[in-house]
Symmetry: C4
Subunit: 231 residues, 4 copies
């Protein structure tokens, strides 16, 4: 696979991921008549299904990261060429914004808009750190062939067990800044979330080493069919 | 497998698919007391379960397309004999209508009826295009043995993230025209949906080529157990 | 495996299945405050999870039929010794009643009780026939190793798309006669359900033959690891 | 793997499990506006997803027991060194409490608190016995590679079909004593639950022997890839 194709895959996959997250949030909010638990439940199930198939579809092409924190960890581990890191992140951010706009177009909403939903405070930041820590731990330790189901299941759980509903992805934060809807986040709240996510990701790298001294990247390269990396 | 058996499989599978979609919509609407989010949630889960098992059951027999857009793409790629395309579509359309009628019979409703539910407008058409684009991308890129779970998961997500609740299937449009219930679509709204679906399917074929120059059909024929195609 | 162990497995598995179906119905009805869609949704998810694990656990022991209609079809196909049929059905019926009683004991209800919930009429009977037809088709055509997930997914869908909420099992009918709760069925309604189920099962045997002339039982015996049969 | 690493895995895994159970309970209670069925449904789905990935992640490291009753059975069967039993249980109990505190920190709640929710009576105790019996039976009989999905599916069902919502884990009882929230249990109710769980676990060991005289532990050691044990 050439890098341009990988970037196309990352951009398209991230766009579809954001369209799923934001679009299902809009649909859920419209239909649930103010029942927030119902809205989040529908939003959760759509995200779980969407993540599962997006990782399966794009994993063999680009690794299906869709997430700058994941790409950074992969570059640090040598599983992504370091020169590809910035292009990957750019593709993810562009894709995320386009995905938000696609959701708005489908739901007859103003395409360009900004979220006004404040998400801030110590609890939220701890939650985002925990959410991203868990996501990276899942990605780094998923058995071959199970990463798609595991990442989807993890995010489904994390929508509920973390106080921040688990963005766990700086590209998702950026895309969701552009949507004044159920899944949105106000731009002023974005930096706190991104910093917490990066700390959580770094923590996962450290804990992963504590749990097993052998470097999983070496084991992985010994497999005939390397596991898809992502989310 | 002879062609008549394949056509029986397509007709029966499409009939059961429509019975699941329409029947669960009726049940959900009756029990949910006006809570549309709850009704769509139940409708979604039933459809996900039904699609999964129908693709597993009928995939080895006919490919489990249940969908003229899927059959057209398969014929175009040479995975379905071109002479089988019209009979496949006929079997799917007949099955879809019979499935709607079966649902009505189970729920003590007038068997022959027409939907009055208008589904129209730019947002709906974009949504149907996106929905069918995603479905075909999933089908064209699903790893061997995972297509059943992936198509089911995708449609489950698409019921929520597309503004049209993702028909993504011209045979489903035809069958659902015959049901004045939760899952119905007024006949006047049908052409717009079908056109959007065909555009979405064509787009998926193009994007699939951009993503990988090698023709997956060749790879597939090298597998000892070819993946089920469908939905 | 000796026959007594198989019968213990069938009785225990059927008891746990009925405890899951009836127990989750009681819990769902108590917590949902009159929201029948919510109650059926919870009842559905519990049944799906329960069926999946019960088939995995008991499949290698007894085939995990838990269902006289399934055992009858298996005996007719030569996959169950004909002399084992009556003992199997007896074990299932005894297990079903004990399972209902176990559910009542857990929920502090009178152990011995009878359902007063009438379930009758042409729509209900057609639905029970369709439900059992679908179940047997799934069992007869499930690929090796996927029967547990497929039966669970099918029943989850059938709780919603059939007007009868898919009993699809004469032993379940008997067990649920003994529970005046959400999942119950009045004894006077039981014969209609059982007859409809047997017709549906017979229909599945016929359609299965139409779909493939080769006898799957022969193919199955050629597999090194025979698929679990059940539910 | 050295014992300290295994203990780290058990403590971290149990902490995350309790954070999932308690955190999703808090989120569900806050969002559901008094609809207990909705709250338990969300709590259930988060727990199912969380258990699945935690068993996959920690299974290869420590067996992913997260549960003193499971560790005791494994020690009794010779699958866990007897000298590791007390350290395992200590790690689980410490992890459980830390997990409760992590949930509180995320949701801006007082970190140190005690549950006031009474859970007592014969029905509750029978239910806890049944819940733990079922869990151990699933663990002892899960086919290789399916234990993660099966334990998750089982607990999801057991949240609804047992009157006690299936703690099925003395470490979970201890952690949930420390949370005055949806998932909590008053300390005075804890001993009854733990005793019922241990009786249920012992019963599962006995029934497992009745079902198959051959010792599965021997079969398991013949597998090239031993199944993960857990939950």
């Amino acid at each position: 696979m050439s890098l341009p194709r990988k970037l196309l895959a990352e951009a398209l996959g991230t766009a579809l991921l954001l369209a799923v997250v934001i679009g299902s949030g809009v649909m859920a909010e419209r239909l649930s008549g103010g029942n927030v638990a119902m809205a989040l439940l529908a939003n959760t199930l759509a995200t779980v299904g969407g993540l599962y198939i997006l990782i399966e579809v794009f994993g063999p092409l680009s690794g299906a990261h869709f997430n700058p924190a994941v790409s950074a960890v992969m570059a640090w581990r040598g599983e992504l060429p370091k020169t590809a890191l910035v292009p990957y992140i750019a593709a993810q951010l562009i894709g995320a914004v386009l995905g938000a706009w696609l959701a708005h177009a489908m739901f007859d909403m103003t395409v360009l808009q900004w979220s006004t939903k404040l998400r801030t405070g110590t609890g939220q930041w701890i939650a985002e750190g925990v959410a991203t820590f868990g996501l990276l731990l899942v990605i780094l330790r998923a058995p071959a062939g199970r990463a798609s189901a595991m990442v989807a299941a993890y995010i489904g759980a994390a929508y509920w067990f973390t106080a921040s509903t688990s963005f766990a992805n700086p590209a998702a934060v950026v895309g969701r800044m552009f949507s004044d809807s159920f899944a949105g986040i106000a731009p002023t709240s974005a930096p706190g979330f991104v910093i917490a996510e990066l700390i959580g990701a770094a923590l996962a790298v450290g804990v992963n080493r504590l749990l097993s001294p052998a470097r999983p990247v070496d084991e992985a390269s010994a497999h005939p069919t390397p596991p898809a990396r992502h989310a």
